[in-house]
Symmetry: C2
Subunit: 318 residues, 2 copies
């Protein structure tokens, strides 16, 4: 196992930094330039055996994914990522070359999202875990979970359930034709944070409510309902499914409704927006899947309830 | 094992927040009020079996310590803590009551340091780990590792080596009389971040170089030397030792020089300051232990080199 100091030095080495960072890795703290507006702050972690398996993922993809799941939280607030600090818990059996590749993936994702990696910490542990805290700049408006109003229409970006199917393909629970396997597995291994869509969504007035879909559309919509004190009706027939999802799952909506890890955005917006108009504005596919109603319940219309994983759990909460 | 959502809810529950926080835990990100000056950003982690053992520490002390080791990094830059986000990796066998007590300790430390706990994340894992990212406000000047100049005198706050002795008492490697055991163990289990000393140090001109002593005075001074491109002479006879340290270790300086976890501050300041003047100014005990010299080497004067743990390692680096 490479030494901890060596690994920190590798992480800090030649990290390109923007002018928003005064001092990057190498001191007790990074020093950031003053922010102009409000800041966004979040932390997330990926743990070996829980969120990933090294048999499935290259080190580069793992590094990129560890950051992407955090960036998705910034996207869900409509903000712009600014700086992050990275904690890596390392276990025996991993080489210095492994970490170079992990950091390469992380840095590549950071470059694409224009975020500075300003600090790191390495600790020993029994399992590999990457925990990242991200600081973002909020836009003029912030997308919050508590802003859904009765009558709002509910939209999602992209397609639903692909990552959950991909994960089950990898873990041998579902078989898939080769033609669709790569797409579905890729949606799990290498999710895209919808940063541009989030930022553009935050410019709409009145500001929509939003959340990223990390735990499945039902559970994440449930968070919006709880925070906003409203109910919702979802139209199961309107859920956007990829051709690959349909090829594997047919008409089974359980993973589109209950499967997580999609990192798409779900948002609630005042009625009247056409899908095509929103798609152009957000520069990503957008589908209307339901509406916000009075009450506290989440009703799924047009689906065979018992077949939906997690449905009862959510109904119990609502 | 309590549910993950239940634990997040407990963490977020009734957290008192300052006006610097617009929105605390419960959304995808926390929202922070704009900062006036530069920010400080750091992350640190404590892992079961590496940094702590539940047989030695109450859950309250563990929660407080997990935050304190992060606050120490803010202290070492002369800043004021502002907001933190907490990631807890939980393993089987821990009860909801355990987490309530862990959070109680964390919140109590947060209250004392006037820092807002603005978000959290819970993940499953095979071992308990608490990773905290802290955001601070920098003062008019920042204490950096790269600011030591030839001729500077080197000081430390408090006493050295107590925590390292305490850790060895807990793990059964050292025996200690009951009269001193509690003090030494307490210095390990429940370290104090020198926030006020750091903030006051940052108001001195020209601004001193500083670091917190987490890995031992030799290794941490080594970081300053490396970043500042200078050497140093330490006077082993000047190291501040507690009566408890002397009672257990006698004249053996190995843990005062090489032992970590003290979380005292080491700083390099232009010559001429008396210990008593600095102690009054920083409101903590302060001792002069050496000076910055030309070159790259760290020399220890007045000590029996081979008895000092880590000495050769550091000499090799310098």
């Amino acid at each position: 196992m490479p030494g901890e100091f060596e690994l920190i030095a590798r992480l800090a080495e030649r990290l390109p930094l923007s002018r928003r960072t005064i001092l990057g890795a190498g001191d007790d703290c990074a020093i950031l330039a003053p922010s102009r507006g409000p800041g966004l702050f979040t932390i997330d972690s990926v743990v070996e055996g829980v969120h990933f398996d090294l048999r499935w993922s290259t080190p580069e993809a793992l590094g990129a994914r560890a950051l992407a799941v955090n960036l998705s939280d910034i996207a869900a607030m409509g903000g712009r990522p600014r700086a992050c600090v990275v904690n890596v818990a390392i276990r025996r059996g991993l080489t210095a070359a492994f970490f170079d590749r992990l950091y390469a993936g992380l840095k590549s994702e950071a470059r694409a999202a224009r975020i500075d990696v300003v600090g790191g910490n390495i600790t020993r542990a029994r399992e590999l875990a990457i925990t990242i805290a991200v600081l973002g700049d909020a836009g003029a408006q912030v997308l919050r979970r508590d802003a859904a109003r009765i009558g709002d229409e509910i939209f999602v970006t992209g397609t639903l359930g692909d990552a959950a199917v991909g994960w089950r393909i990898l873990s041998g629970k579902i078989r898939a034709p080769q033609a669709v396997r790569k797409f579905l597995v890729g949606r799990f291994i290498r999710p895209t944070a919808r940063l541009m869509a989030g930022e553009r969504l935050a410019s709409i007035r009145p500001v929509p409510a939003a959340i990223d879909i990390s735990d499945g559309v039902m559970q994440d919509l449930g968070h919006i309902l709880e925070r906003s004190g409203v109910g919702a009706e979802l139209d199961a027939r309107a859920l956007p499914l990829s051709p690959a999802y349909r090829a594997v799952m047919g008409g089974d909506l359980s993973l589109a409704l209950g499967g997580g890890e999609d990192y798409e955005l779900l948002f609630c917006i005042r009625p009247g927006y056409r899908e095509s108009v929103l798609a152009r504005r957000l520069r990503v596919g957008v589908h209307r899947i339901g509406r916000i109603v009075r009450g506290k319940r989440l009703r799924i219309l047009g689906a065979d309830a018992p077949r939906i994983a997690g449905f009862d759990q959510l109904r119990a909460r609502a």
